[in-house]
Symmetry: C2
Subunit: 403 residues, 2 copies
């Protein structure tokens, strides 16, 4: 089943907003076996929207999902444009307007005249309920293609997709595409591909893709045959072993929380160069409070001494970014929070602060439990945010391998 | 000057990867006055790439930037497809291959046979240097449109854009579009638009757009007349006052670090429900170590008591998520880290853990300095990650207003 996506919005073309809607809709549709064939972004302009729709029609998708431009302000022209494209009239929906007034009143928000535009419905076609916002969506049918128009505000779009549109996709799908994912970390793309070439060069008849990111390389396998996907997937998974951290869509932090939870173990984290990112990632996972006792962001030497008990002469002799200090930090945080594991990172995030001996990107990661403390040195690049992300991934991966 | 962007990659259409490349290229091009007219994403398939290029050609852009599909693995077909589209031959570049071998050797990475594909150059057209990766880009000229093909790996693409392509845009631009942005937080889109309608309803001849996100609402003004943009921009800025946190592309954390740094003040942060996100945001800013002394992630009551000195009967009587505890936390963290300001958040991030009295999304944010401690209550929604982001923004905004 083919789906195409049209995102409408000047802010997307100006790059002020990253188009997460398009990838979210694609991910959710792909997960249930749909094929997303095209994504396109166009301006809040009638002619551009018309041309974009014509282009998407070319590949004759069963569904076209349109997001953006349904807000109450003057720059939101999607409703008017689509009504013209589908040759339908505007009808003012008094019932919905009353409902909207009550809803705003309940939330203590003033309803303004411009909100009235959100109570308009088409003379032909349907409205799509918006459980959490004021802008309803619209659906139209033309030449066997179903069109859904949704607001661009991500959480409103998501709730409407989940409640109304994805169930419809699921009901109507005939020949789904099967997909598996294997997520790896710690090996670069070309080496990974070469390592597994013995397996990928066999006659497996699946499509294999490699997707590098700062978190590692994902391998994606797809085919219209579930059996063929399964076969290759198992062969690769067995071959890759510990390089693979999951074969689900999960991310590393979800794996860590799940595994710690299963083992009934707790962790505490001392972060220097990552500044709270590891704690942030862990606490994005619902239920993190079961396993995460807390952490300290020790950006200063003084806090490393006072809170984690790192001796000042250790800091003086080896420097804050050193194997020895990392080890003291992971042990110190474990004791401070009385947790089963203590994780620490200390490094030079950049862009400044490096030396010849310890260039920007030098990071030490240490993990303690009651019996032992281990430490590893990493060399990442010169970019501050990238260093933080790579460090957080390597640190969480150290925990994963040790559990 | 018109620019269009083509992103090639099955992973983008499957939604496994968010298309940050497209928005980055758009943002950088827009900043220097270009107009990005279309963005499109297509599969790693010859016919789809051909059709996408034809569609982009329709609007006759001066430049088309293509990303993705230049890697060393079998699923990377961009080079072959473009060579066919532009009717050029493959030439193996022995010099570049030798250079690549030396570079890999220096980095201690094994060079594999498949990397040879990256040493191919076109018989007509140019290669674009890649300062930090092995895949070079290509440039072609056809019917007055310049085509640039770059790798999809974001940091490689960015370095090539910055080094080669953006300077070329800048040199060739004739009638730039002028833009201003006003970033606001704490007021919903429809109210904001209504509030400023006195100004926006005047004859200003600019395009005005509203862009809501979890961080607030951005107002964007654009026109081919710098004077008209300026006029409206100043009127709006004066009217909005403190609702505006910046009129630059900066984010809130950059404002905070800059302002604290200017005042030579320091801050320490105690995070409960945000789990490290505020620290992470602050430490994304280069130079954060000048103003950020560190923080504590107090996910447990015990850590609130031991590290921040919150009395256990206060926790018992009012609960961890309360005005009183938030105030003790901000005071406690300021004392612990000996900083000028102490910021604290405590809340129920969800999806579980709420009660009738304190539903999921209840958050208290407190800020202390040597003289005083203030606290505010917020009600956010039910989504965990969204709550964390909204909380972090409101907390940083409280710091901004207090400086």
């Amino acid at each position: 089943m083919n789906i195409s996506i049209l995102s409408i919005g000047d802010e997307l073309l100006a790059g002020d907003t990253i188009n997460t809607n398009s990838s979210w809709i694609s991910r959710k549709s792909t997960q249930i076996g749909c094929n997303v064939s095209r994504q396109i972004t166009c301006k809040d302009q009638k002619e551009e929207i018309f041309q974009a729709l014509n282009y998407l029609n070319e590949s004759q998708p069963e569904y076209i999902v349109i997001t953006g431009g349904l807000g109450p302000t003057d720059d939101d022209i999607t409703r008017k444009t689509l009504f013209e494209y589908f040759k339908v009239k505007e009808i003012f929906d008094e019932d919905y307007w009353q409902k909207l007034k009550r809803r705003f009143h309940k939330l203590g928000i003033e309803i303004v005249e411009s909100n009235k535009s959100q109570a308009i419905k088409p003379s032909m076609g349907e409205t799509i309920a918006n459980p959490i916002g004021s802008a309803r969506g619209y659906s139209f049918l033309k030449n066997n293609t179903n069109y859904f128009s949704l607001p661009g505000v991500p959480y409103e779009m998501k709730s409407m997709m989940t409640q109304t549109i994805l169930p419809q996709f699921e009901k109507n799908i005939k020949s789904p595409i099967f997909r598996e994912i294997i997520r790896t970390t710690g090996v670069v793309e070309s080496s990974l591909a070469e390592n597994i070439s013995k397996i990928t060069k066999t006659k497996h008849e699946c499509k294999v893709g490699y997707y590098p990111s700062l978190h590692g390389v994902d391998i994606r396998i797809s085919s219209i045959s579930a059996k063929k996907v399964d076969h290759l997937f198992i062969a690769l998974k067995n071959f890759l072993g510990d390089t693979t951290y999951t074969d689900k869509k999960n991310n590393m932090e979800e794996i860590i929380v799940k595994n710690l939870s299963r083992l009934r173990k707790t962790i505490a984290i001392a972060e220097s160069c990552t500044g709270g990112l590891i704690g942030d990632r862990i606490t994005n996972v619902p239920g993190a409070s079961e396993v995460f006792k807390g952490g300290v962001i020790t950006y200063s030497n003084r806090s490393k001494q006072e809170i984690l008990g790192v001796a000042s002469d250790l800091l003086k002799r080896y420097g804050a970014v050193s194997e020895k200090v990392a080890m003291k930090m992971s042990y110190g945080i474990m004791k401070k929070f009385n947790s089963d594991y203590g994780l620490s990172v200390t490094g030079i995030a950049g862009p400044d602060g490096g030396s010849i001996e310890k260039p920007v990107g030098t990071v030490f990661i240490s993990l303690s439990n009651q019996e032992t403390t281990k430490v590893e040195k990493f060399m990442f690049g010169k970019d501050r945010e990238k260093n933080k992300i790579k460090t957080s991934q390597a640190a969480l991966n150290m925990v994963r391998i040790s559990l």
